[in-house]
Symmetry: C2
Subunit: 227 residues, 2 copies
Amino acid sequence: MYAVKYYWGDVMSKNMDVSVSVIRRLPRYYRFLGDLLLSGTERISSREFAELIGVTASQIRQDLNCFGGFGQQGYGYNVQGLHSEIGKILGLDKKRSAILVGAGNLGLALANHMRFQDRGFSLIGIFDNSPSKIGIAVGDCIVRDAAELEDFCRDNKPEAAILCIPKDVAIVLTDNLVSWGIKGFWNFSHYDMSVKYRDIAVENAHLGDSLMTLSYCIGDIEQSANN
Amino acid sequence: MYAVKYYWGDVMSKNMDVSVSVIRRLPRYYRFLGDLLLSGTERISSREFAELIGVTASQIRQDLNCFGGFGQQGYGYNVQGLHSEIGKILGLDKKRSAILVGAGNLGLALANHMRFQDRGFSLIGIFDNSPSKIGIAVGDCIVRDAAELEDFCRDNKPEAAILCIPKDVAIVLTDNLVSWGIKGFWNFSHYDMSVKYRDIAVENAHLGDSLMTLSYCIGDIEQSANN
DNA sequence: TAGATTGTTAATCGATTAACAATC
DNA sequence: TAGATTGTTAATCGATTAACAATC
């Protein structure tokens, strides 16, 4: 019933009740609401909030009303309440188990650095096929042999997989991961996972594409500076 | 004249001749054309190319014609030619100098892993303020004391800065970096760089936001599976 | 009650898709 | 020339913004 395919910024999606444009704004709302909470702000109007984060008040109200009426006429929004509601919408109160495949530089950086528990996930396994990596401790995990992946998935039913592997490895591995029950991918590989799977979410984090976009923009700025 | 602000996928832009939606598709076109080149394909029609990467032929033709007519009626597009044209549009033939600020896990992963030279950049300096990091060799660079940043920028005129630092550090540092001549930021910090600067490009790579989006999508799939 | 601000509908804007004449 | 496929214009679709009635 489902197949979602995200490219860094550019998006293809199917069968989603709420458009991806809206969803992608929620984490930012959530972060700013967290800041407001820390600063002790109790209430905020859509107009004030819009000014703070640089969008229109209309957009904020429209976005929120995809999920329900979280405000109160004449008052605005309760910061704590809205923060927690958006958190729930994003599923941050969940602890979806995730595995990380590929313990290279990037994989280890994510394993060490990313606060999965604040973002709806719990990292329960790290895998690599290099003997030099297998056995080393990373956070709460020990890097396991990629050969154990199938058994591990059967026993622990991870829901998400983080792919920090080269393209060619990703191509052969994703089919298996899907068949072993993975429902969502955070894809750092350059493999453009096709839409051939259903009921699967793919969030592509093509860092190289992002860097190329920056390259274009700097060029565009230089050009307009010369004119 | 210019101020661009990108959020992971969601975008605010000003004064760009070509819309960001189009620009963000170019790196993907470029990657697929690279694959086609490797596989020895000489020509491709917009229809075939569209099928390959999962978009409409109309979109590809519209996108390309923002920059010029690269095809030939009745023939299609020459793969090599189009690949190189898109590379030029993205500025990948340039070697814009970039510095990386913050030699933590993520910073080191990028420094070691990212092929800057294939994406229009050349990494010329890495900076950190931790004595345990200063002096260690990473690729062609040696991690320098962040205190040297101003002098380094004056002497070497880097165009881009990669921010792999915590939010609070980013807040105090970006003003300085802009005044020292940085024209573009690749921002991995959670600081939402404001639109207060002009003539500056900001490409936000908020990995946490990306992960939260995946969390939502997995939840959405589960819900629709239950109904 | 009066003022403020939401939730929601209507209007606008931009991006995507379809169509087709131009042309290789 | 006939067939194919582009470049480009027109039609559609969706997302953003504006407006305002509902209501706290």
